[in-house]
């Protein structure tokens, strides 16, 4: 599967950075286009998501596959075009190196209609960059 990766150094302890991921609903605050997280299971290991772009609504289901505080948090989107999102936090003194890796299936039918694989890769790269940048902005003063 193709993948994109983004990194940032955040002036905050790894424990605080990791807190951004453990509440699934929090993703709405920093993921562009994500409008709703619902049906979160009591153990916070599965949830439904909904993106909204000017009336175009994309919804699906996700499950957390790894939560190793404060180092690694991973979840998978299980419906439609599958993807795996992995956040890694490496303590670096009073700072944290955050990396986000997104592996995704290339949707062949949609691809033919909407975009080339390169364009899709660029869109995913930009989204990952925005997410990491938003997390950094929210956690720093």
């Amino acid at each position: 599967m193709p993948k994109v990766t983004e990194n940032a150094v955040i002036t905050a302890p790894a424990e605080k950075v990791f807190q951004m991921f453990v509440e699934p609903e929090r993703a709405v605050m920093f993921v562009p286009g994500l409008s709703r997280i619902s049906n979160v299971s009591p153990d916070k290991r599965s949830w439904d998501f909904e993106f909204n772009w000017l009336g175009l609504v994309v919804s699906g289901h996700s499950e957390c596959t790894a939560s190793e505080a404060p180092k690694k948090y991973q979840f998978k989107t299980l419906t439609g075009n599958k993807s795996t999102w992995t956040y890694r936090c490496e303590p670096d003194g009073s700072k944290t190196k955050l990396s986000l890796e997104v592996e995704y299936e290339v949707p062949q039918q949609q691809l033919a209609r909407f975009a080339s694989e390169t364009v899709l890769q660029k869109m995913n790269q930009n989204t990952a960059r925005e997410i990491v940048s938003h997390i950094k902005t929210l956690l720093e003063p």
Partner: protein, 118 residues
Amino acid sequence: MSVRFRPIDWRRTWVVQINSSSADQSSSYIWLAIQNRKRDWAAVFSSALNLLMETPEVTRDVPRDVQPQEVRFAEGAGRITWQRTWFWIIIRLQLNSFSPKKRALIAAALLKSARYTD
């Protein structure tokens, strides 16, 4: 995964930004929300602020029919007030702290919450 075109989503609250201004140290925003159902705005904004890792302070001692209602955060450097009229609600956000980028991101996150929180 489902893909639908939903230009009208009754779960959504129609909120539009009608004014915003930003200076070196502060930003302010005014939004207009069409009131299609009763909402607990204090709960909507408090929940969003918790997700933003801020501590909301709701003015609980003010009766609900007294206008405007408000939520403060960031030790008073952030303030959201809302005032009901007959048909719409005017929401004001004032941010007197944080970097310009963070102020814009907080405003965008709160606006998203106002639109999509059930």
